[in-house]
Symmetry: C2
């Protein structure tokens, strides 16, 4: 494991990298390479979608993710196809990962100008697997504490067997592009008096009341989730 | 365009197809090939993630989808890389599509048994592009009316130019697998008296109050969204 995951200086963060894959071809007005906005999306979201080749076929599955410095991490069973690195001979040379927030429905006066408000980040990279168990534990702590700040310290510690059974992978956050739409519909001028309602229906995720299992005692405090998580 | 998209008989729906790609290798206890449950997930969700090969590289992006009978549809700019069918010479031979609902966070007494409640459907197929503009309009009507029942009839009709600029693609819903986790954490027996709160934090999506744009008149009625949409 290299030691590149140092936190970027928030005041001088380099843009994400524009390549043939990350250059946005449709809706270029919605494109952004703002690393800070990308990090906010990564840090507040729980689930990403990871696509890769498995025996020559494209497969996309959801997984949870977290960020440390300039790397995006995910985990799974140590033999899971999406966490095994190329060096392990499983042939996953490249992944594409998307994180998307659906922020609203955009209703125009014509079907053509209907849209959605969203933030979508697509990343590309060659995964690196974390193989050292002590390092794995440190990364998993960051993952747990992203979702539930302070919780790691309250848990029954991970066993050697559990660490050995867990795979952790990461890619650098570099070749990536963010696409964002926000705001009201943009109707054709000639349609503005067409008699249909137009505007935005906002959408958000909410967390319900925490439901304890049957072994929780009255004294045990309900968890506090990470701020802004969706 | 073939004419296979007849509605399945809901009382005798064939299971989804188990293949090398859809057989679930990890967490087989969470696997389902229940077509009815898969259709409910498709019909209530707005956004899917579509992965395919572009010039030899895996790319995953979000898009909106809808269902007609036993086909999953999506749309985009007619030249967008994810809507152009193989016959158009753009080389997209296969796609994998995932639809995922995050239903809750599952907190156990050990990090290892933490999990999430979710429903995740992964599909595979070779896209077919709808090339007839009249057919395209019929499909887009189904899409709009999935999100906002009855709205298509209220809109300024699509022009020939708009239809020509819009691409519609579909895959049969056949080679697919559903994975579902629900309910409480499953802790190790020995951890049940560990002094940490354990249980589930439910998650759901909500639609906020519809915000009209500046041209809406008082008489125009706010939209009603499709039931159960998330």
């Amino acid at each position: 494991m290299s030691d590149e995951s140092v936190m970027s200086d928030q005041n001088s963060m380099p843009d994400l990298k524009v390549t043939g894959r990350t250059k946005i071809k449709r809706g270029a007005n919605r494109a952004s390479f703002d690393r800070k906005a990308a990090y906010a999306l990564i840090d507040h979201s729980v689930v990403c979608h990871l696509a890769h080749l498995v025996e020559g076929h494209v497969v996309v599955t959801p997984t949870c993710h977290w960020r440390e410095g300039d790397h995006l991490y995910w985990h799974g069973h140590r033999l899971a196809r999406n966490v095994v690195s190329p060096g392990q001979g499983r042939g996953n040379t490249e992944v594409s990962i998307n994180i998307c927030a659906l922020d609203g429905l955009v209703l125009a006066r014509s079907a053509f100008h209907h849209s959605v408000n969203y933030r979508s980040l697509t990343l590309f990279g060659i995964p690196e697997e974390i193989t050292n168990d002590e390092q794995k534990a440190l990364h998993l702590e960051r993952f747990v504490d992203k979702l539930y700040p302070g919780r790691w310290a309250q848990l029954r510690p991970m066993t050697r067997q559990e660490l050995a059974a867990t795979g952790v992978s990461r890619i650098p956050i570099n070749e990536a592009s963010l696409k964002v739409r926000s705001g009201m519909p943009v109707d054709d001028e000639a349609d503005l008096d067409w008699p249909a309602w137009a505007g935005v229906v906002p959408r958000e995720s909410i967390w319900g009341k925490a439901l304890p299992d049957s072994h929780v005692t009255k004294e045990q405090e309900r968890p506090v989730l990470g701020e802004g998580l969706f």
